[in-house]
């Protein structure tokens, strides 16, 4: 034991020396990171301090929900709001989290309705306790029924339909829709939407989203098995990068399009490796939800007059890429 500990100490020391002596990179890295503002300081409002909680169905570590949160935090800072966040991918836990915030008597709750039935009683408990609720992202059709003020989000099926139409305009015939998480209702709705408006044929392909090599080899296999495929549609920004790799590796001429954005997607749009992306503006969902609760509290306003407020689908291409790159690197788009 003593020997292995000594060896370990020696190795650790060697590393520190190596790191100290190592050459630095002249390109890229933090030093090259441009620091172009983003967090608009400015003065906030002087309305009384509010406490607003958000509970989502996000799995831990999802880029998308990061962007939603950064929108909420920006609005919270401006509105003199204390912003609280919790998430669980399991529906019963998500409902319990909402109940916790009801017990805590926060001044407003933002919730996603990805699994509407499970969330029904929790949302109604909040409304009964006199806490205004705003729903975001998914579950537009249930929002009003459960007693929420308004719904802010993109309808998945509508977004899928927009992709189908875009593919038609580009003269595509044969598309694959890549589902990276089996059993996720929203993803199925997106593919179903594509199928609805696309005049060519659409096939769904299930891949293992937990492993990039598995995603890559799965898509590559599909492209090799069917040479007639001319479009690959991915449902998440991280999968899009793997789809581009798979296309290159298989020598296929298919175009890759994706839902949702991140910095890598913006760069791939610019280099035309991706043909287009569907942006549902998650930042806006987080930002508007907090603003809505603040407006309602201070002025009785309802954004959208009680109708669903759509944040997407907006189709972005290489023309939008330069601006998008700036925003995606900041984590707000």
């Amino acid at each position: 034991m003593a020997r292995s500990t000594r060896v370990f100490a020696a190795v650790a020391t060697a590393t520190l020396l190596a790191v100290a002596a190592a050459g630095c990179s002249d390109s890229g890295g933090k030093d090259a990171e441009e620091n172009d503002g983003g967090g608009g300081g400015g003065g906030g409002v002087n309305t009384p301090r509010m406490e607003i909680a958000m509970v989502t169905h996000s799995a831990p570590g999802d880029t998308f929900w990061d962007i939603v949160q950064s929108g909420s935090k920006q609005a919270a800072a401006k509105d003199n709001v204390e912003f609280l966040y919790a998430n669980s991918e399991k529906d019963d836990e998500q409902a319990r989290l909402v109940q916790t915030f009801v017990d805590k008597k926060v001044d407003g709750i933002i919730v996603t309705l990805a699994k509407p039935e499970a969330m029904k009683s929790a949302v109604q408990a909040a409304v009964d306790a006199g806490i205004p609720v705003v729903t975001i992202n998914s579950g537009a059709e249930f929002s009003k029924e459960y007693g929420a003020l308004s719904h802010i989000g993109q309808e998945e099926a509508v977004a899928g339909e927009a992709v189908g139409e875009e593919l038609n305009e580009r003269g595509r015939k044969n598309a694959v829709c890549v589902i990276h998480e089996q059993g996720n209702v929203g993803l199925e709705q997106r593919c179903a939407g594509v199928k609805k408006t696309f005049s060519g044929s659409v096939e769904n392909l299930t891949v293992d989203g937990a492993s990039k090599p598995a995603v890559l080899s799965g898509i590559q296999a599909k492209l090799e098995a069917d040479g007639g495929i001319d479009s690959v549609v991915t449902l998440n920004a991280d999968v899009a990068a793997s789809a581009v790799e798979a296309k290159d590796a298989s020598g296929s001429k298919a175009e890759v399009a994706t839902f949702d954005l991140n910095a890598a997607v913006a760069a791939s749009l610019e280099s035309k490796q991706l043909s287009f992306a569907v942006d549902q503006q998650p930042y806006l969902q987080g930002y508007l939800a907090v603003d809505e609760l603040w407006l309602y509290e201070t002025n009785g306003n309802v954004i959208g007059g009680g109708q669903t407020v759509l944040t997407g689908p907006a189709i972005v291409t290489e023309e939008d890429a330069p601006d998008l790159k700036k925003f995606t690197e900041r984590g707000t788009r």
Binding site: V19, A22, G23, Q182, S217, A225
Partner: protein, 350 residues
């Protein structure tokens, strides 16, 4: 059943594996025999029903190699009687460490790669050390590590980089040379040999040599067969087990670097969950016993091959992908049943 009886592991004592036997009998006694038959069956099956399966074997091998690299040390660990549930997320941790260290320090990418090796080894050492110090089951220890790593992957990435996926390091110095080592490919005719396949073959060869030709190999079989008996005859049980966890760490580091360098230097922090079960499954399909003391590195490689063939073959066969996981599970179960049936017949025939 167990290959080595730990009651008799003194270096010079005759080991039943070294006794004279006819080549056929020796072949029948190998742990991987059944899985070879299973692999051939899966191969023939897809070669017949899936059009582009044969012409795309390079993709199949790539898919198998990404599981296979990890299945080798996981198999050794299982032969040594332990599990590692943290192996899947450790791969992601290794990739995250390299990229974030290089990025934050604006250092040459190789510095990040080297620091990542140390961090990964430290995690492996932690697993092994906690195991031998506390005497708790490895299931509990590595479940704890798994959850901690998973949380740390996301938490630290978010704290340092502001979002849950990393910034690209593909424009930094050293990226290209590291990519050659961890994520390049060589064209042999129309066949694309990805470098992970070479890493995989190398690791299988190394592990097989360790298991069958060195003192360490005997120790691994001995601690898996019965650690108290092994300790009684002087096998350094603690060092052997810690060493096995360090082996898993090294393979996780290699896999992690592949993950980083093959995907333009961007890593998503929540990845890797659930893959540990794929590695364990590959080892078990390849003939490792869940109870330890029996198995081989070649078997684990064949297990990974079956896994890779089934995974890719289902797509090449163009089966309805809603049923993907069902088909994969059924294929694996069938291959394993065939495998154990062949082994039982072989043992009965001895």
């Amino acid at each position: 059943m167990t290959a080595t009886l730990p009651a008799d592991p003194a270096p010079k004592a005759p080991d039943e594996r070294l006794l004279h036997a006819s080549p056929l009998h020796r072949l029948l006694g190998r742990p991987e025999l059944g899985s070879v038959i299973g692999a051939v069956a899966v191969f023939l099956f897809f070669a017949v029903i899936a059009d582009s399966f044969l012409s795309s074997l390079d993709t199949v091998l790539y898919a198998a190699s990404t599981i296979g690299i990890m299945a080798v040390p996981v198999a050794l660990l299982m032969i040594g009687g332990e599990f590692d549930l943290s192996a899947g997320v450790l791969v992601t941790s290794a990739a995250l460490t390299s990229t974030m260290f290089a990025y934050e320090m604006t250092a040459n990418v190789w510095v990040g790669v080297f620091v990542s090796l140390l961090v990964t080894l430290a995690v492996g050492f932690f697993n092994g050390y906690m195991l031998v110090r506390t005497g708790l089951p490895s299931f509990i220890i590595t479940l704890g590590t798994y959850l901690m790593l998973w949380g740390a992957n996301i938490g630290i990435t978010k704290r340092i980089q502001g979002t849950v996926s990393t910034k690209s390091i593909s424009d930094m110095q050293g990226f290209e040379s590291a990519r050659v080592l961890f994520a390049s490919s060589i064209d042999v005719g129309s066949f694309k040999v990805r470098v992970t396949i070479l890493w995989w073959i190398g690791l299988v060869a190394l592990a097989t040599w360790i298991l069958l030709r060195t003192r360490w190999g005997n120790w691994i079989f001995a601690v898996g067969g019965g650690k108290d008996a092994a300790r009684a005859v002087g096998v350094p049980v603690r060092r052997t087990k810690i060493g096995l966890y360090l082996g898993v760490a090294v393979a996780a580091w290699i896999s992690g670097q592949h993950l980083l360098f093959s995907f333009s230097g961007v890593v998503q922090s929540a990845e890797g969950r659930g893959l540990e079960l794929h590695y364990i499954a590959a080892a078990v399909i390849g003939g490792c016993l869940l109870t330890g003391g029996y198995g081989s590195a070649v078997g684990a490689a064949i297990g990974a091959l079956i896994f890779g063939m089934a995974k890719q073959g289902i797509v090449y066969a163009q089966w309805d992908s809603d049923w993907f996981w069902f088909f994969l599970g059924a294929m694996l179960l069938l291959a394993t049943i065939l495998n154990s049936w062949v082994r039982k017949r072989a043992e009965a025939a001895r």
